[in-house]
Symmetry: C2
Subunit: 135 residues, 2 copies
DNA sequence: TTGGGCACTTACCAAAAGGTGCATACTTGT
DNA sequence: ACAAGTATGCACCTTTTGGTAAGTGCCCAA
């Protein structure tokens, strides 16, 4: 890994640290991913696309992403509410940076799956951190 | 973003999801980063290199990374304990995938800094999630 | 002998992050 | 008339995460 990080940054350990803090949140990377697919942009669609997200969480994360300038929210102010979300250029570039992680995940699916099998095997995650899930 | 994710995976939403679950943990990406730099590999050095990590956390994360096969721990069984950590090939490849994130962070440092300034400005993080830090 | 470093471990706690469920206000389908 | 869908808001509660502080065993230097 070439050093794209170390240039001592104001507040962050390095560039990686900064990025991670921006995408911190259980659903943000996934939201970025779905939006990057040019896929569903309406709230409801997004909601259905991401299995297991609660309204509270999805909305909260979307708000933060919007406030952080990664996503642009458009409210059509129509009668049955209509709102959609899209990536801003900044969000678009972040999504690009996430691609290698997607790739790594799929390419190493076998290993990753084994990893989780092991984690689960050690008595309901007994060998791991106190508690239980990328903050 | 080309679709390196969607191939419906067993347990994960997509490859990105899988990867994120592996590196989930406040210090894992950073550890991977430091080890990838060929930098400090002995426990104590690592500890000092990463400002603000507590023993408990560093050890815990190293244990998990080791158990997950991303890091290899070598105990020299010497008298004043000597142990060092190194990336396995799998860990190495993950570290590679993290590079774009490092780059994104440094390249967009200005925007990212603004983002955090805004977050902090809204009354001790008032406009954000309940509480305060990537889970 | 006192102090320090090494690599960890353990117990106890605070905070953060996320989940559930209910509510809104209006419309369209049955 | 009633259920359902739309995009959120809010209160409350649990789980998860991470921090602090103290301790362990052993060796070396002052």
């Amino acid at each position: 890994m070439s050093d794209t990080c170390t240039p001592t940054l104001p507040g962050f350990t390095c560039g990686l640290d900064a990025t991670l803090r921006v995408i911190a949140g259980k659903w943000k990377p996934l939201i970025l991913y779905f939006l990057a697919q040019g896929g569903p942009t309406r709230y409801g669609e997004l909601r259905r696309a991401m299995r297991d997200v609660s309204d509270k969480m999805l909305i909260q994360q979307l708000k933060e992403l919007t406030a952080d300038g990664l996503v642009k929210r458009t409210d059509y102010r129509e009668v049955p509410p209509r709102v959609d979300y899209a990536l801003t250029p900044l969000g678009e570039s972040l999504a690009q940076a996430l691609v290698p992680l997607c790739t790594w995940g799929t390419e190493n699916l076998v290993e990753v799956t084994r990893v989780f099998a092991r984690r689960a095997a050690s008595g309901i995650d007994g060998a791991r951190s106190p508690g239980g899930a990328l903050r």
